[in-house]
Symmetry: C2
Subunit: 366 residues, 2 copies
């Protein structure tokens, strides 16, 4: 009896076919009436639309996707979601995607090559119209990009952001890592730092490399001689979260063997705030004894004490740009397929959007 009542209460989604049968017309008539085709008489149109509204008819997305051969959803594939930067990118993507009539489906590679491939294969089988992704660390290490080439040559567009790679041809959105680093180091120099240290990651992550290059460049153009002793490379191949103590001791050791350091540029937020914490523990005062600038404008920077001067990465803007690039391309494909012949042979040049960085001054610099 319970089941029966449930059944009665259950207003399962109604279909065109059911409406047609109920109103004793054909499916095509219903479809046309609902789309306001003037092929159908006023009377029947009224009747059908009223009935549809009453039963809250909404066309089935899956059926539409199959018919139109496009899903109106875009796939996001990122290494990690519990990360302020990536969250802001997603927010940016979702914002413009929604505005332009798209949904987003997200996959997490968890920095793993294998999971990246699996995710791409799952989504590439019709579930989405295009990808927005940032490459996993393991993939960058292996330098194996066949899965990207494969999906692209299937006709599925990809937009890469932040962690990109020149080997695969597609639209890209990056932040100006190099110049961001230059600006940061220059600011430290202007603030009278004489011995500026760099805390960075291993070289295989492209952004880390670029920021390191920016650091070197800024030193040299300002008459400094880069000192390899002042560069600390952290091996973050293991999960950083659990290795906070290791990070702290490494930095402490670094500071102690190089007491002359009076400025620090760190390639990410965590390294920067940890450096501040360690400095304080060692009895140094920020920013009087040592000034610190980080990269990525996250929650830590804002709420640390002292709050951290950072190079802003504009995650949300990156997401918005990436989404616009992708959707532009998708819409262009649509328009193109409607024409028998178009003379756009410019089709295959890809766009690289560079987002300018900006220094947000807070309390960790003078």
């Amino acid at each position: 009896m319970l089941l029966y009542n449930e059944f009665l209460a259950m207003k399962k989604k109604i279909t065109l076919k059911q409406i047609a049968k109920e109103l004793d017309v054909s499916v095509s008539t219903v479809s046309k009436a609902l789309s306001g085709s003037k092929e159908i008489s006023e009377d029947t149109t009224q009747k059908i639309q009223a009935f549809a509204k009453l039963y809250n008819y909404k066309p089935n997305n899956i059926a539409l996707s199959l018919k139109n051969r496009k899903t109106k959803t875009i796939g996001i594939l990122i290494p990690e979601i519990v990360h302020h930067f990536f969250s802001t990118v997603i927010r940016g993507i979702e914002r413009v995607a929604n505005r332009r009539g798209y949904n987003v489906i997200v996959g997490l590679s968890n920095e793993s090559f294998a999971k990246e491939i699996i995710n791409m294969e799952m989504l590439a089988n019709g579930s989405i119209d295009g990808f927005i992704l940032s490459i996993s660390k393991e993939t960058l290490l292996k330098q194996d990009y066949h899965h990207f080439h494969a999906t692209i040559s299937q006709g599925m567009p990809i937009v890469m952001f932040d962690r990109v790679v020149s080997e695969v041809e597609c639209d890209k959105v990056i932040v100006d890592d190099f110049n961001g680093a230059v600006k940061a180091v220059k600011k430290l120099i202007e603030n009278n730092c004489k011995n500026i240290a760099l805390i960075t990651t291993m070289d295989y992550v492209s952004v880390g490399k670029l920021r390191t290059q920016g650091y070197l460049e800024a030193l040299e153009t300002n008459g400094f001689v880069p000192d390899s002793n002042l560069i600390l490379k952290i091996d973050d191949s293991l999960n950083v979260e659990n290795h906070l103590e290791i990070l702290e001791t490494e930095i402490a050791q670094f500071f102690q063997t190089n007491p002359q350091i009076d400025g620090v540029f760190a390639v990410n937020e965590l390294y920067a705030v940890t450096a501040m914490k360690v400095a304080k523990k060692l009895g140094m005062h920020v920013p009087d004894d040592i000034q610190v600038i980080g990269f990525t404008d996250g929650v830590l920077s804002k709420h640390a004490t002292p709050s951290l001067t950072t190079v802003s990465q504009h995650g949300q803007k990156m997401g918005e740009q990436a989404a616009n690039l992708l959707i532009d391309r998708l819409d262009a494909e649509d328009a193109e397929s409607e024409q028998y012949f178009t003379n756009n042979d410019k089709k295959s040049d890809f766009i690289k959007v560079v987002i300018e960085t900006e220094i947000i001054e807070r309390e960790s610099t003078k």
Copy 2:
């Protein structure tokens, strides 16, 4: 010419029909051969499978979804993604979803009632098999839950987490907010705090209310008399991000008019670290003069100086539990629909999973 070359390079996804035509068999034969049906002879099976592998055939998800009337994807609807807690929940959901063969598609309500409804309607039209969601603030304020009822009565299961509401019947995953608060306040009492303040939000967010009740309960059972002067309610209807200064001055005023405060329990992380920051600015030492405990174990707590003692919320575990609840129900529906008759009249009782909290002691308490 360029277009022609592109066309040659373009390995568009191949379909059953194309394989069939190429091998001069019927579509059904191809389908059966690929699924290893022993209806088909060894010879043709071999031939077809080889060909399919060569052309990297993968069945089209959309077509499968339409046929099976299930999409194997679950919809996540959360108020905000740039938020450590929600990110961890998503990570948890994605983990078990992926393991159990599901994809996740996320929508953001941005704390807005209207966007919540729009998102639900978009996804409920066939795109997903079920929802995992946390209610937006505006919805909680309006107390209008018709959209939840509507989708449930359409036969689409919902699992709510964290911000739930008794008015809608569905599976729920919550953290034990009440007891978490009790534990936190008890800890402060044990640590010899005599005047314990509460920094909380307005009452309409259920979790805030529960944590407030826990605070009061803990005081009373330990012989304290709650003092309304020691309760600071922050109006977070506006976006907190931009109102950091307002928050700081409010807390500063609060501390100054109540100098007897020697313990603070804050219902979220931001309030807690801001309280610490303000306390330090007012010349108080944490934890010697004033001890602080927050709710939600995020990045701020871990990396603040001093690091913050918190009530852990176990976001990832919540996500995992929620996903399991939902998928269990979906799989049960499947199994059920295969049988002509089943005697499970227990079908409609919903499960509420309560995740126990746990205090993570750090430097902000003694």
